[in-house]
Symmetry: C2
Amino acid sequence: MRRRLSSGEGDLTDKHQTDGKARPRTQAERSRQMRERIITAFISCIEKYGLAETSVSQITKEAGITRGAYLHHFKAKHLIYKDAALRLVSDSFRKVSNIPVHPDGPAADLKQVLHCIWEDVVISPEGRAFSELMQAARTDELVAQYMRRPALRALRIFGYVAKRRFPFRAGSKMKTNDFLRMTQWTLRGMAADTALVYQADFFHRQIDLLVDDIADELETGAPI
Amino acid sequence: MRRRLSSGEGDLTDKHQTDGKARPRTQAERSRQMRERIITAFISCIEKYGLAETSVSQITKEAGITRGAYLHHFKAKHLIYKDAALRLVSDSFRKVSNIPVHPDGPAADLKQVLHCIWEDVVISPEGRAFSELMQAARTDELVAQYMRRPALRALRIFGYVAKRRFPFRAGSKMKTNDFLRMTQWTLRGMAADTALVYQADFFHRQIDLLVDDIADELETGAPI
DNA sequence: AATTACAGTATGACCATACTGTTTTTTCCT
DNA sequence: AGGAAAAAACAGTATGGTCATACTGTAATT
């Protein structure tokens, strides 16, 4: 149920005198906060309404500002896509980095990691927003340019966390890499069906099956 | 390289006298052909430009007609979604039904089926169009209503073809079903990355790896 | 320390454009 | 001739981007 992004929120009033202590803000800082605020609103909008239905008016309404402010910080509507994508990927990496290690060994830990990635990355609001951008990139060359690097980074998320906490069988490194990437693809394919087809717990059961399959690749040693 | 849909194309002139033989067409038949023609144009548009950029004007331009004709056959723009989705699913089923059986036994056949589903269904123009509708369904309740049944049917495609031509190990039926469904999810997840991340042959190699994994579930018996 | 000049930031009105859906008119087929 | 199909004209609305204007913070000058 975590919904709020951590950055770019908080007290956004311009006045110094709103609270007792003087809190000087440089123009640069003021500008940066506004950009973050707009990006947050943008991500929230494409998650809720889809990229197609996200107009500048929608974004500014969500952010509580006027259209002029948006177009001051982003000379054209689409110039926000890149910043948004980068933030989404960064957030994802941070999330998987913070998944606690399960005490019952690699197998249990892997299971936990998969469920966490599913919940907190793939089908999270941020994950949904990311998939909106990915879909748009298919037919919009401009979006595609912005998404190429974020898309590559996103695909490495699972390998990133797996390599540093799971002892994989030696000698099968290449195959393991492919396997992890495919697991991620599976989760994303599942995500596309969550809105329409099955119940939420169904997908968790499917993930359990997936884990049983991958677990064979793990050494049976102690946790790291 | 097959691009053209099979239905709804061909000679679409209204005149009888264009060729020698009289070819009487009832009003109903005339109307039906126009609908098919519009649906074809619609699918082509969302594949090329994405659903968001597909206006009625785009569709009618693609079909070579005027907006009036479209709105005569579909009282509102969105009323075409349902017909389009059903046709896409039907086409997919027909395609997988027509995949020839490989002579070298179940393992080779499975590999061929997977590659065919990848090429002719998942990343085909029709598959792309379908994924556009699926993505739109996430945030548009109207589209979601239209897509619910087609989405379920689409998910059964792989099981449909698998059950009638592959001898799976007895006793593991449930697990096999899940496995097939997950394979399909994997392919769809891969598809989302084709536009941005890797080269085409990369995905075929990944599919080969996938087949090797699934092949363990197959009996080593002769082809059906 | 107070005033003034200046640059960055935000606003709301404006415009051209494109879209959907309705209505009216014309064309075509049986 | 009569009715369905297609085209064309129309109205209403929303969008993206520009612009003149006002506001806020920073630096220079008195």
